[in-house]
Amino acid sequence: MIIAIASGKGGTGKTTIATNLALVAPASQYLDCDVEEPNGHLFLRPDISEKRDVTMPIPKIDEELCTYCGQCAAACEFNALAVIGKKVMVFSELCHGCGACTFICPEKAISETTKVIGCLEIGTAKAVETDELFFVHGVSNIGNPLSPPIIKKVKKLVNDDCFAILDAPPGTSCPMVQTLMGCDYCLFVTEPTPFGLNDLVLAVGVARQLKIPCGILINRSDSGDDQIQEYCRREAIPILMEIPFDRDLAFAYSKGEAAVIHSQSLKEGFQKLHQRIVAEVGK
């Protein structure tokens, strides 16, 4: 079972919910898909047993064979190649690694080399009651603009036998879509403010287009207005949990401490949340 924890708006508590859920759910696997700013490791403190580079193919021009015809530059939709006189320039930060230039070159003068854009770290963490929690995260290199290829690699490590939890990046564009694709269920974490609602509506739109069933968790549920509840009622989206603001909890979070270890009632709350998600997926 693959569950995405997403939000639209940043800072609503995706990582808090994803890590706490991973800590109480039996046979769980936590995969951090927020590769630009991965934070789950700060709370789960995993033992990393393996580190792999994530690479992307980029073109390499054989100047001996190149006739400077310019077809590669014309074919590239990302303007990652330019032919100026007798020189082919490759702008690797614009390249998407699609292979169109290699394919089109009539002289077979373009081969591919790889560029490291980030890494994957794989390990295990201690869960609250179960023996082991499987941990994976992707980390995008600073200056690398493209996160979807790294997210894709993280998702290749999903273990189907586990309760796999994908911690999604904020927003509603490619990195978030890449994370949600193929999930069985999406839990949106929101807060009861105009920003929270505005971004939630957009994010629910993505889940609906992808035909992924979804539910809502309202974090800091007493800190704004009641517009989220009204929206959920109107749209018939189930609210699976509400967590009121708690300064002690926010303090524990700030130190990287998991809520379920601090509070028995939250531990039970997250166990219930796990059961509700499983029930929702079964529907």
Binding site: G8, E77, C98
Partner: protein
Amino acid sequence: MKELTIISGKGGTGKTTVTAAFAVLAKNTILADCDVDAADLHLILTPKEISNADFIGGRGPQLDSEKCTRCGECQRLCRFDAIDFSEESGYSINEFACDCCGLCALACPEEAITMVDTINGRWFISNTRAGKMVHARLGIGEDNSGKLVTLVRQQGKLLAQKEGSELLINDGPPGIGCPVTAAITGVDLVLIVTEPTLSGMHDMERVHGLCRHFDIPAQVCVNRFDLNLVNSQKIQDYCTEHNLPLVGEIPLDPIVNKAQVARQSVVEYDCGLVSQVVRDMWDKVEKELNL
């Protein structure tokens, strides 16, 4: 004309709260909401639209199934697993997985796939009580958010020139990826809004790394600083060590959410401590920008 971008790395640290307050405090400014896939600034500034236009982000493949002979070449070559196949309907393009690279169109021996302009969103110029604003809406699940950010910034600059404004304030997106890069390259100053949590600090360091990568001057503001004073001290130490001016520490106060629910910036809603800190911070930023 000067350009300021407000970013954070981590989402939800208060970028838009700070941007909206600065917008109200700044005189003669233009605003650009560069968080195009989860734009929120309009919720506070309630813009009145003057003009709007489609955002043509690039081109995307269109498959003519009449011409398709089901040779499968497109699916074999596609590196994004974006070509689906079913016995009933043959090949089709999964637009969510598609990267719009055009390789399938180049490769199709039947020329059944052509690249056509794609509309990925809309952008707007509006009047607000704090000045004119450029903002956009990326279509749901659409690509090219970096390009749309670039467009919003360009339009913001044009507007600032036209109106004779001396400042463009960009509300940035979270993360460190392509939309963030598009929002900060070449600006005069970046303000990083962080919070004293491990996540906030971790992400501030990464986004500061990005600023250094592009050689852009940055300043730091700590939001909800009193949530964890030990961590706030660590942020101060980091700033001192890296020669990063720390321009303000905003306390954790329910007034921030109340202002948002009332659709006002904190400086309009209240004149308490939060408001005072934000005003002081604006004075420092204004000075740094030589306005």
